[in-house]
């Protein structure tokens, strides 16, 4: 780690594309040909209405990636590899939308044109930008670091959400698909961690010391991206629906994993 507190030249997150290659390949292996989505048919009477509502909301949320990627690219600016990751990530989230949409169709619960229009036309950029500015602990904090911290939290929340709904699901084939999406979100969670740690290697002690308070600032005012699209609120599909299935144990896991991970950055040397 660089102990200097002076302003330094821009440092990329990763020195080589190897990490991106690895994550891209592992992502391809998760859904090699999407053959499992052909001719899906499920018994609607075996699926609770709230699970269907969760699926509709989450399918649209995953489809909303075109909104979200803008904020990522804005944060990553000149960091080419993180911008490339954003592209890979967005494509993988689109697969999740596709899986959920096919599952919904298998239940006879297709998304409507109105759903897509509502989401596509929903304002996101300005609302999210205001929120993002409000959570910064300092005007000179590295936006990449903030976005990655947010990414760690957001992706782990997705892991918990899909895990929770898989446990709630009475149809094993559906539960297995939810679990597979959860595994994919685990990869995303892990990538954000690795990128943050990689950034940290080039940070000064002062910059590293910003990670824990920045985590606390985000955690204390956590708003998932769907909070910033009106369409979700209109259909009562906000964060409350997203977290509604979480058991006490899963909520605890979220708190413990996040705390145990981020607190390590209070002692930067131990991290890198």
């Amino acid at each position: 780690m660089n102990g200097s507190t002076e302003t330094k030249c821009f440092s990329p997150s990763f020195p080589s594309p190897d990490t991106l290659d690895k994550f891209y390949i592992s992502g391809r292996k998760m859904w090699p040909d999407l053959a499992e989505l052909k001719n899906l048919k499920f018994d609607r009477s075996q699926v609770d209405d709230e699970v269907v509502q969760f699926m509709r909301s989450t399918a649209l949320n995953e489809y909303g990636v075109a909104h979200y990627i803008g904020s990522y690219l804005n944060s990553y600016k000149d960091d080419f590899k993180l911008r490339m990751w954003s592209a890979i990530w967005a494509a993988e989230e689109y697969v999740h939308y596709l899986v959920l949409r096919r599952m919904l169709e298998g239940l006879g619960e297709s998304l409507t044109d109105e759903d897509f229009t509502g989401l596509e036309k929903g304002e996101f950029v300005n609302s999210y930008a205001d929120y993002f500015e409000s959570i910064l602990i300092s005007p000179d904090v590295d936006r990449r670091m903030v976005q990655l911290i947010f990414g760690v939290i957001q992706e782990f929340a997705a892991v918990i959400a899909y895990t929770a709904v898989s446990e709630k699901c009475k149809i094993p084939e559906m539960g297995a698909l939810f679990k597979r999406i959860a595994r994919d979100e685990t990869r995303h969670f892990r990538f954000n961690q690795l990128a943050l740690e990689s950034l940290c290697k080039n940070y000064s002690e002062r910059e590293c010391a910003m990670i824990w308070p920045q985590f606390r600032a985000i955690w204390g005012n956590l708003q998932m991206p769907q909070e910033h699209i009106e369409y979700f609120a209109e259909l009562d599909m906000g964060t409350k629906l997203y977290t509604g299935f979480w058991s006490g144990e899963l909520k605890s896991r979220m708190i413990l994993r996040m705390t145990q991970y981020f607190k390590k950055f209070r002692q930067p040397v131990a991290v890198v």
Binding site: W219, G248, E249, S252, R257, M258, Q260, K263
Partner: protein, 99 residues
Amino acid sequence: MNDLVVAPSISREEIFVTLKLELVELLCLESSDAISEDTRLVEDLEIDSLGMVDLVMQVEDCFDIVLPTNTDLSKIKRVGDVLDLLDKPQSTKLSATTI
């Protein structure tokens, strides 16, 4: 880092005294006099989700432990529940980082 929450040689009373000092520091209280095992974390100490993050961090640092990720924090409603957690080494071994 211990794989047990607190060394067995430390009594519950000693853990309680230390825990109270940690709560005083964490919550900027004037003293620990009002803290008992029955004190409620949310209603009496106003520990919210951010406060829970700080509490976990403080407890883990202070006692040099890592709480297992399968710990159900929602069942920890009173100070006495935190003590129970710290006073039961057999239930608090480090767990694998399972999702």
